[in-house]
Symmetry: C2
Subunit: 256 residues, 2 copies
DNA sequence: GGTGGTCGGTTCATTATTTGAACTGTTATT
DNA sequence: AATAACAGTTCAAATAATGAACCGACCACC
């Protein structure tokens, strides 16, 4: 692995649940030597990618990341555009709504709205969603580039529950359905007792950029609710796509 | 420079004005060899820190950065907390309001609200603000750790205009004033014709984390307006600090 | 329709950086 | 007072990064 890859995988050890980690802990979890880990952390800290708590000496993600993320967001206002619609959808469905963006080979959860219920589906920001076993994943694949689909379907796929689709043919069928319907449905593919609907947010080229999804405990979810939510999520995704592409056109026009 | 540092300095070549860059361009600007640049980009792309436009083959900042920034933001909801108050302040002052967070050795602009005026102070997200020559910088230094202040005052300081303070004694005096008043005033220290007021956003330990500032064309700014804005910005900073530290207490309580 | 310039991307012998076992010193626990 | 876990450092050995030269593709210009 390249040194750069090692440094980044250190960053990826941080999560919403464990936002601060000590040196030894980082070394242990990454598998790198303590000296190596420290050298990488110092390099990262030098550019503000991590910062160290003065008191505990623990490390956490730094402001440099916020800076770059905001620059990205300025060019490509995915969050800004989508979050209000995620909120609306969360309000109208009273279930967990989450927004994801495609990165490397899975979907990255970038925003979540949770309902007030005690019994609800909990999703953390930063969580990675596999493509073959989630409603979001299927919705994404339905409008993804051929090479992305192929990369996903070749190689063995993990079965997280008894309901997870691991046959390429079954996944393809599910994708086709999602494409026709405009939204995907996945029944307990990633976790028992959770049913989700999702729709793809698409770029100007028609390919999927990310997804918006509603996840709910299966126990209180009727078939009618699924159909209703499907339409709502499809509508939200369409609206986000439209606003995004409108913005993009403006940007291109300004550059020209 | 470490390989990691090189990779990060590639990322830092992207800005709001130039969010997409080609390989040769990146190599030229970074001073690295084209092959090196490419290797670094591939490593970064492997973790979603950059992505490549399929059409133009240009590179841009990737979704992996958004992911990590959101994880950071979940632990430390600086933006979420501050942005509404930045908006309020922008509405009431009708001037440019910007929010910064400290990173490495300068302040990083993480949010900006611009007024509708054609003649206004323009600030980009991601822009770095020097500590000694901006209202934000002085406000930050007024409540910064001694070592940060010392690091800033030792070494030669750039004079951006004829008004920039470059004497450590003068800067210290300005800091003291800001500390007593609760906000800083800087008259054309970074750019001619711009006058700003700023106040420090402080953590639970009392030290500054970042700043909120109002910047306006000097031509339409009266002394009375400055005083009024000063109080408003101080109040906004106090409110943000309170909300942040309240949140932090909750987080600590949850962990205990 | 050739020609020179630039682009993105690749190769591989040379070179410089990264690595990690062993070390110090500090702090919390028993 | 002993133990253990922690953060951080050192330096010879091992490994990964480097960059000049290369390819093919594309574009503009004479």
């Amino acid at each position: 692995m390249s040194t750069v890859g090692k440094a980044i995988s250190l960053l990826e050890l941080f999560s919403v649940d464990e936002p601060e980690l000590g040196l030894s802990d980082l070394a242990r979890r990454s598998g790198f030597d303590k000296a190596t880990t420290r050298r990488l952390l110092v390099a990262l800290a030098g550019h503000g990618f991590v910062e160290q708590d003065i008191g505990t000496r623990h490390y956490r993600l730094g402001a440099g990341l916020s800076r770059l993320a905001r620059i990205r967001e300025a060019r490509f206002p995915f969050l800004q555009t989508a979050v209000p619609l995620v909120r609306d959808l969360a309000a109208s469905t009273a279930e967990t709504v989450h927004l994801s963006e495609f990165g490397v080979d899975s979907l990255v959860t970038v925003h979540v709205e949770h309902p007030a219920w005690a019994n609800r589906v909990n999703i953390d920001i930063g969580q990675l969603l596999p493509l073959h076993s989630t409603a979001s994943g299927i919705a994404y694949l339905a409008f993804a580039r051929d090479e992305t689909v192929k990369a996903c379907l070749t190689g063995s796929l993990d079965a997280f529950t008894a309901h997870t689709l691991i046959e390429p043919a079954a996944i393809s069928r599910s994708m086709s359905e999602a494409r026709e319907r405009g939204y995907s449905i996945y029944d307990q593919g990633y976790e028992e007792g959770v049913i989700s609907v999702a729709a793809a947010i698409r770029g100007a080229d028609g390919f999927a950029l990310g997804t918006i999804a509603v996840a709910a405990p299966k126990a209180r979810t009727t078939a009618a609710a699924i159909a209703e939510r499907g339409l709502a999520v499809r509508e939200a995704a369409r609206e986000i796509s439209m606003r995004l592409n409108g913005e993009n056109l403006q940007i291109l026009r300004r550059q020209a």
